[in-house]
Subunit: 207 residues, 2 copies
């Protein structure tokens, strides 16, 4: 079964509330309950879960919370922290470096900036050092949090250093070779949707 990006984006949301329920000692949870919390449709929840879990829900009872957590985490290959570098140690970069929600998913092993001295108990390397450091470390994921003027340059350096997956926070469309995947975190796009939110007023509570 092919998983869609939409489903993929919902999985962490399921995970989040499942973990909350686990903390509260909930053993079982129904798709309806999950759906209500996330302002989604329960059928959608069941379909999503069916993709990532072979554990059926029990009629009248719901799904086993712990099993679901395990299955989703396994599907997303979490708890198998991936090494990541980040370039751009400004405010946004630092925010990401300290974002607790990522702690189980990725490990930011190295940070670069044009301003070498910056730090927050982590060494920030100068961008020029990337060449020597990254290639041999077998890291394939990079985050770009530099101003848009420098983003393409940074991207090119990453590509040269064997980075294959790029999470780009700069508002610019990066040019990359075929085998490199870019995901743009486009805050302006989000803002547009938000500001039109009043008129549309749909699909917003849930995401």
């Amino acid at each position: 079964m092919e998983i869609s990006i939409a489903t993929l984006e919902r999985l962490p949301k399921y995970l989040r509330i499942l973990k909350k329920h686990k903390e509260e000692k909930t053993v079982n949870i129904s798709s309806t309950a999950i759906a209500n919390e996330l302002y989604l449709n329960s059928i959608q929840v069941r379909k999503d879960l069916a993709i990532v879990s072979k554990n059926d829900g029990r009629p009248g009872i719901g799904f086993d919370v712990e099993e679901l957590i395990k299955d989703i985490e396994e599907f997303l290959d979490l708890n198998n922290k991936k090494d990541v570098i980040i370039v751009g140690a400004g405010r946004l970069g630092q925010a990401l470096m300290n974002y607790k929600e990522f702690e189980n998913d990725i490990s930011i092993v190295m940070a670069f900036d044009k301003d070498k001295s910056k730090c927050n108990n982590k060494t920030i390397f100068h961008i020029a050092e990337m060449e020597n450091l990254v290639k041999k470390l077998n890291i394939h994921i990079g985050i770009i949090t530099v101003p848009k003027e420098e983003a393409q340059n940074v991207c090119d350096m990453m590509v040269k250093n064997n980075i294959k997956i790029i999470w780009n926070f700069a508002p610019i469309n990066l040019k990359v070779p075929e085998d490199v995947v870019v995901r743009n975190e486009d805050l302006s796009a989000s803002l547009s949707v938000l500001l039109k939110g009043i008129e549309l007023n749909k699909g917003c509570k849930g995401d």
Copy 2:
């Protein structure tokens, strides 16, 4: 014509490259050219543009860059800066306060934190002061950049102070009354898609 969220999210991307082309003195641009830059389909671009602009493209020539910019900006009601408050003046909050891309869209008129003394040439008010300050200012948009533990509290305060649109960066599902719109900026969801990106390898260059 109803506009979809997907289209809405693409508009800022169009705007961005149109502005770039305007700077380069391009007068006309074809839907194909736009599509190529954004890794989209040209038909999709034309359909999107048809929704927001009455200016037809000219066969053999393309669209008038300046007119398109004007039409998209008008549609998104930009250049009519909206007043916004932000709660949470940590790294992420500061990053947003200084994000240049937003400058024409929103004006962050007031920032709050539980740590009053923080600032960066802008006064950061204590959260408790929200009650006195925000209600009378007729501000309806709020950004939440506090840790998830405090997010619901902050949200409740915003609602009490007449905020109707909330941009939430905390990884939690906020409970709000019917007439309040929430948009969650869910970085974990993005990360999930990113990390699965290799397998899917689609729809990622474009967004």
